[in-house]
Point group: C2
Chain length 170, copies 2
DNA sequence: GCCCTGCCTGTTACAGTGTAACGACCGACC
DNA sequence: GGTCGGTCGTTACACTGTAACAGGCAGGGC
């Protein structure tokens, strides 16, 4: 429950070392959220969220559509986009702008907070962290420029710790 | 050269506090750079840079292609992409990931440094700033996560100072 | 001169990304 | 029942980006 308060330090959820984000947990959060706000957490939205959560790396909308499709029943990308609109709007998944792809939200943070995405060029994994320090310096810079922020995108490409270890690649 | 007079006749929303990037200056920088590194600053690359520099807002590759084309001679988008690859690689233009569009580099900074882009939702202008403070906090967060950064994307969407002033619509 | 090589450009083709528009369905509410 | 709003299916289309191949052009070696 009390996820917001305890996350003050550098205690962030590492999802990838252990495997994918807890799908069930994310779905439960979505259900609570829909309940509270009177929104519809439909089957398509739930399945889209599950597919994104179960993948260990960013998924494109068409990849998601393909995974949602079964021989008799094809899910069109446009439907996936609408589901993703819903999910991103409520902070359940994030869009990785530099990849045109989507990842599950690893934190319980609200949509207002800004996350930093660490994208590994070697293994393609994406880690999400939050730093109050970065937010502070961003706020300061924005205030100085007289700019009123609405949404923030911070994406760092590079090499994750695990991939630096096994240097040479397979 | 009169820098302000060039915009007098048109009422386009004009992005930069200091006026549009000086095209000639940017071209001169490119020429020096090509000279120093033994690279070819070809006509297509120069004209692409000029088109991007003269626009007050981010331009898509196809927009650039259209501006470069003349009735008899059409420039294909793929050529523009190659020119843009060259220009971004050498820090002459930047790609705005959240818009799939390109802006001229307003600073003389090297490719290593990371810029912060302030994208105005109202007028579409993009301002580029650099903050040592933000870089420091990013570095600290990355080091803590054991992540080795290669490139950084920081894009803030919101409302620029000028648009906050004239609140409503035009 | 001639060929070879490397780089740039033109062209075609195609895959991926994203949105607009219309219609049908369904549940809620009068 | 009828209306209204939201979701979804479907089609169509525009935009973004890359692969692959061919031609052109300059420089270097013979």
């Amino acid at each position: 429950m009390d996820e917001h308060g305890t996350c003050g330090q550098h205690d962030h959820a590492h999802a990838h070392p252990h495997g994918p984000v807890r799908t069930a947990e994310l779905v439960a959060r979505a259900e609570r959220l829909a309940q509270d706000l009177g929104l519809q957490f439909t089957t398509l939205r739930r399945r889209t969220l599950e597919v994104v959560a179960e993948e260990g790396r960013p998924l494109g909308a068409y990849d998601i559509a393909e995974r949602l499709s079964v021989p008799g029943k094809r899910v069109a990308a446009v439907s996936v986009y609408r589901a993703l609109d819903f999910l991103t709007e409520h902070g359940l998944v994030h869009r990785i702008a530099s990849r045109n792809a989507f990842v599950p939200c690893e934190h319980g943070h609200g949509a207002g907070e800004s996350a930093v995405f660490l994208i590994c060029r070697s293994c393609g994994s994406v880690d999400e962290t939050i730093s109050a320090e970065i937010e502070r310096s961003l706020d300061r810079t924005l205030a100085q420029a007289g700019f009123k922020p609405a949404s923030r995108i911070v994406e760092i490409e590079g090499e994750c710790g695990a991939c630096q270890g096994r240097q040479g690649v397979e």
